[in-house]
Symmetry: C2
Subunit: 396 residues, 2 copies
């Protein structure tokens, strides 16, 4: 059996950052910057006022109180370029460029707020309340680095550089295909043996949560030729299937892809999620074939597909942050296989099995309680209450 | 001055969960369930096989090896209802209902995989590899509770209950309006005194990150009547403005709203973000007027607006998870005011100021480095290297 770590590496190796596209700033958040973004100008562009008040020459306010002539009124956005000569001041609002001659801003609260003359009652030290040109960034600085996930603050920084558009990695379009003759769309009356498809929704939501664009297809019946035509005809960046990869007589995904030279089916030393397939279709599209039990699909996506989607988006760190938590009770784990156990928090650093009523990988209702996935190494054969576990936080 | 905590409470009190709407499962993820979702049926609906193999009567496999007659072939999805009589077995795939008479599943790996007769070489204990009806959920169980944020697993649970649609709280439409005569759209050539608007993009991205739908408007010039008409004419669930709320001579937002009986302008004991306004417009729409410096807008949104958006979405827990981290160096904080300091991680539990090159709330380029916001209580007047800080993780 292939180790969990080796299969993770093989899954990730199929993914590469997608080409850059240019998007507007309204579309940019949540995407990943393709190139280092440098500034050509100092930021701020000019010395400007940090307060609403008066721009003065500090020598004029050495002895207080003093009355100065107001020679200009400078709201933010003013293009005026007055000169503050001895004995004068310019009324100035936050953000307005500091006029020539002035070296200090006196906050309005320390004055009588006059508009033709102003009485200065108190004054700060020389140079106070000025924002200096370049104190945020100087020409040549990388303001936002390639590979940065553009959150609100990064988008604002791009805007402040004066860019109406930005080059980011395209989001991957990922097809998710659930297979199985027993599956019907939710809402369809069930006859004996049928169950509602849930995996196509599970995986589509997981693709979106990972920042991809989901193309949900399913449920697809267990017909080998139909499935092969479907999979090889998709125009997407990656494909994820669920079901049909085990040792059963009707394992349709395996049957549809077994002749593909660049697709392999392997047993991975993990529970759930032992039967796995991955590789490339003839056009080069990466495909990940996950087992069909919901908990298996969920855990397999988390382990093998999510990092690949993050890589395609251009992210460098494709791992979830891990937490340490203490197990709330005892359970056994399969010998020689890693275990992926859905857990929920029952204390600040304490987790219990989310699916504790049963133990199987089919427990889709219980899975809704999962907030984390505990990753138990293959060397561990039993978890005891109080053991420290490594947990990936998977709740949204 | 009003305390940070009191202003947070006032901001949150303006928000209530929005009405429920019915959406398809393709639209449901990221939304919040409006009603408890119970199951009317046991899940699984019937005893079914956990393995690909043979359904047998355990008494028939007491002595091994044994050859049994194969009386049925049950793929998943089969509606057949055969009876397994003594001396017989049904070939069965994972998920197929267990036929009458059978009480145990023998995995295919323990057999010769025959289709007319099957040689059983080994057998598990009685009752093994059966998934029992109701072991995931029984009728009446709440499978997904009202107030649950629908992630992939919860959406899958809804699907498994057979619901093609689900009732969720509507996402809030939040208008963001940046004000200031000095602001021009990014890409516009700058004359003296002008800067590119960045706050409307900052706040729009922050609204989306909080799960709202952003209606970005801006930059808007400092014209009181125009702004009042704009703000009172918006058909949205909440409004956020930036700029124009301080003590300056041109504080347009304050001037436009000062006559509104249900809007108040207050000084909050926090740095940055001291000048704040909030309340309701005549139609009842909550409005939050934030100061205009980018770091102030960012921190104010995080403190006052984000929890309100989460509440409108129907979430009960509207707080970010907090982390404890150690300060990497020393800085002073304003006496009697809480401080919100953008920080970045410089070690697993260690943070440095993101804007360390300067100290002002205008440092929009540096702000792009922020991964967290340290919340320093008003009682603290100085942070020393090694101090433990409470940090909100704000990076996406």
């Amino acid at each position: 059996m292939r180790s969990l770590e080796d299969h993770r590496a093989a899954a990730l190796a199929l993914a590469a950052p997608l080409p850059a596209v240019e998007v507007t700033l309204d579309e940019a958040d949540g995407m990943v910057l393709a190139d280092d973004l440098r500034t050509d100008e100092p930021l701020p562009r000019w010395d400007n006022s940090a307060m609403d008040g008066y721009a003065v020459r500090h020598a004029d306010v050495a002895a207080l109180p003093v009355t100065l002539r107001v020679v200009a009124d400078l709201p933010a956005g003013s293009a005026d370029e007055p000169v503050v000569v001895p004995g004068s001041a310019a009324r100035i609002m936050t953000g307005a460029p500091v006029p020539a001659g002035a070296d200090t801003i006196v906050p309005v609260e320390l004055t009588d707020a006059g508009t033709t003359t102003v009485l200065i009652r108190d004054a700060p030290a020389a140079g106070t309340h000025l924002r200096r040109a370049g104190e945020d960034a100087v020409p040549g600085d990388v303001v936002v680095a390639a590979g940065t996930l553009l959150g609100p603050a990064a988008v604002a920084a791009v805007a402040s550089l004066g860019h109406p558009t930005v080059r980011v990695h395209r989001r991957p379009r990922v097809a998710v295909v659930s297979t199985g003759d027993e599956l019907v769309p939710p809402g369809t009356p069930l006859r004996r043996g049928q169950i509602p498809d849930s995996n196509s929704w599970l995986l589509a939501a997981a693709v979106r949560e990972a920042g991809g664009v989901a193309v949900r297809i399913g449920p697809v019946p267990d017909d080998v030729d139909t499935l092969r035509d479907l999979l090889t005809g998709l125009d997407v960046d990656a494909i994820v299937t669920s079901g049909g990869v085990s040792v059963g007589a009707y394992d349709v995904v395996k049957a549809a892809l077994i002749d593909q030279p660049d697709v392999e089916f392997v047993a991975v030393a993990v529970q759930p999620g032992k039967p796995q397939g991955l590789g490339r279709l003839p056009g080069g599209t990466p495909i990940y074939t996950l087992p069909g039990n919901p908990v298996s699909s969920f855990a397999s996506f988390e382990m093998f597909v999510r990092p690949a989607i993050l890589r395609m988006r251009g992210l460098r760190d494709v791992e979830r942050p891990t937490l340490l938590a203490v197990a709330d009770d005892d359970w056994t784990t399969p010998p020689g296989r890693a275990q992926l156990m859905p857990v929920r928090w029952v204390g600040p650093d304490r987790v219990a099995r989310a699916t504790a009523r049963g133990s199987g990988s089919h427990l889709v209702a219980r899975l809704a309680l999962a907030e984390g996935l505990a990753v138990i190494p293959a060397e561990t054969s039993r978890v005891a209450a109080g053991d420290r576990l490594t947990v990936l936080r998977v709740s949204p």
